[in-house]
């Protein structure tokens, strides 16, 4: 009985080895790039544009003769944004000898998969995973991303308010929602990082309330020089209007949820001078225009979410491999940090932590009824 079992397992092991060896031998002379993310399920619309971006770039490159004399090959793996599937996908890509991975899409799945890639020495570039700890914790030196982390807006706003505007006393408000409160928490943390800055008021207001006079009075009596608001434009419009009607000159600074033309329409004259952070304007970048029209030509539709981020991630990776003249981890890792790449998101290279420098948010100010980027 025992012998029989042993024999069976040996047979299985031999067979498995045989398969691995065969597939390896067959495709040894290609550069393999894994594309992992959600390609099915509820969040498929976040992942599929990345596959298309990678496919377009690889097709173009292969038509021109490939990279380092080798053809590029994509290994597309789906994990539906589920962390437990993401680890499987990672193991699969490692055993398929992927040289680098574009992905994953969701922060949770990315985090689950990263350890496996790290042990195998595989470079990962995500177009969309925004959880700050992925780059800030230092645990994942192999991780890069072409999207700004969640705390980037809070950091930008805090830096802008304290360094550019030189303000010292702040009231930080939010709408108690995930987005607004998240932003407000980061903004508060970064504001308080400078010792001379004081956050005199930190509170959530109720979205859809009949009136915001009480909280506006509280701002007034707190002596804050500026309000930093995390949330969306309807409440922001009311608060700003009430402040201006009471002749309060308090500076109003907010986030991407307020950087919306509706805000200016609703708040009217009170909106003048309001600051808000928002994604950098890429619509005038010729590479972005080209990437989008390429997608329209190939697929007959507008590209979906994170398409430009994935396009930039793939370009940066390919460029780094070309500059490093190798697919070795250390060489590519260094090249990503040394050589800037022209991408649809602008000229990017990566910081030590793995965030793309130059990708992310800018400050805007309402001037004559439109948001104007502050250079």
């Amino acid at each position: 009985m025992k012998n029989k079992n042993l024999f069976r397992w040996t047979a299985v092991a031999v067979l498995l080895f045989f398969f691995v060896a065969a597939s390896y031998a067959e495709k040894a002379d290609t550069i393999k790039i894994g594309v992992a993310g959600s390609h099915t399920g509820d969040l498929a619309s976040y992942g599929l544009p990345s596959v298309r971006a990678a496919e377009l770039i690889v097709k173009n490159l292969n038509a021109k003769g490939g990279l380092l004399g080798k053809k590029l090959e994509l290994i597309v793996e789906d994990e539906a944004c589920k962390p437990e599937l993401a680890t499987n996908v990672a193991t699969k890509l490692v055993s398929a000898h992927a040289h680098a991975v574009i992905g994953h899409i969701c922060s949770g799945a990315t985090k689950a998969a990263l350890g496996t890639y790290k042990d195998a020495g595989i470079i990962v570039i995500s177009p969309s995973a925004t959880s700050p700890e992925l780059t800030h914790s230092g645990q994942y030196p192999n991780f890069h991303r072409t999207i700004a982390p969640d705390d980037a807006q809070g950091k930008l706003v805090a830096d802008f308010a304290t360094k550019t505007l030189k303000l010292r006393k702040f009231a930080v408000l939010h709408d108690k929602g995930d987005y607004g409160k998240g932003f407000a928490e980061y903004a508060k943390k970064f504001l308080e990082a400078s010792p001379e800055v004081k956050v005199v008021l930190y509170e959530g207001l109720t979205p859809g309330a009949v009136d915001y006079s009480a909280i506006v009075q509280k701002i007034r009596y707190s002596g804050a020089e500026a309000v930093v608001y995390g949330g969306y434009h309807p409440e922001a419009a009311s608060v700003v209007q009430l402040m201006r009607r009471r002749n309060m000159k308090t500076v109003f600074i907010s986030d991407d949820g307020v950087k919306d033309q509706t805000f200016i329409k609703v708040a009217g004259r009170a909106a003048e001078g309001v600051y808000a952070s928002g994604p950098k304007d890429t619509t005038k970048n010729p590479l972005a225009i080209a990437a989008i029209s390429e997608h329209k030509k190939a697929y007959g539709a507008e590209p979906g979410a994170f398409y430009l981020n994935a396009y930039s991630a793939t370009l940066a990776l390919v460029n780094a491999i070309a500059k490093a003249k190798s697919t070795k981890y250390a060489a590519v890792h260094k090249a990503l940090r040394t050589y800037p790449t022209d991408t649809p998101l602008g000229k990017i290279k990566f910081s030590v932590g793995g965030d793309a420098i130059g990708v992310g948010f800018s400050m805007y100010q309402v001037k004559n009824g439109v948001y104007t980027e502050i250079k």
Binding site: E203, V210, D211, A214, I215, A237, R245, V266, A270
Partner: protein
Amino acid sequence: MNFFWDLLLGGLTRGSIYALIALGYTMVYGILQLINFAHGEIYMLGAFTALIVASILTMQGLTGLPVLILAGLVAVLYASAYGFTVEKIAYKPLRQASRLSPLISAIGMSIFLQNYVMLAQTSDFLPFPNLLPPSDFLDAISVWIGPSDFVIIVTSAVVMIALSLLLKFTKMGRAMRATAQDREMAMLTGVDVNRIISRTFIIGSALAAIGGILIASHVGRINFYIGFNAGIKAFTAAVLGGIGSIPGAMLGGLVLGLAESFGTGYISSDYESVFAFAILILILIFKPDGILGRSSQQKV
């Protein structure tokens, strides 16, 4: 002390609006024992109508006080017509049905009106102009009290006094009180109950429309959904004061407004709604019929 004064005014402003809407709830409940959930929507319709009329008039080149008065008048008439129609369509056919049926009908009406405005107008927020014309008097008092706060408090006070006088001294008011006390007995003494019910809806809707215009002009924005939150708060105010009682609704609105304002000011705006409902629960524990509610035996 200044801070206290400002919070007090803010609370009174907010409370006056709650009171104006709560009156509609309480009057209808007093007569029909029905919670008119579509009432918040009438408030929203009033504000929307005022916005539309004001935009048209402004385009015609009118400014200042005439716009405010005309827009207000049209909005009040229009909202009253809505209140009247809603009653005829959604509640009158169910007069003899069990009490649950008109309640469900009211919720349906509320959802219908919200979606109707969303589709016919827009789902976006719209700017609501400050309809108050600049005046020397308002500028002069703006040191102590914001112009729109002043107008809201004064207007609400005038409207509520007028309503009290109407109920107390006119024939219609007497008939309304009689209907509220005992509908069948009122009918026997020759009161046209159906007409009284219609008038109750018209008056309640007019008050809600006034509240809608005032607050929209104060906060500067509206959308199709503003009636929901205001309606819930006003309903709370009506229950707090004792549903069915007219002075109760006024008092309940003010108590609620002040509780929210002081709660926000002295503790934290995170808990704004918590204060409002904690007060409601506390008062209902000690006075289950509300502050001014008469503890009446349930009629069977």
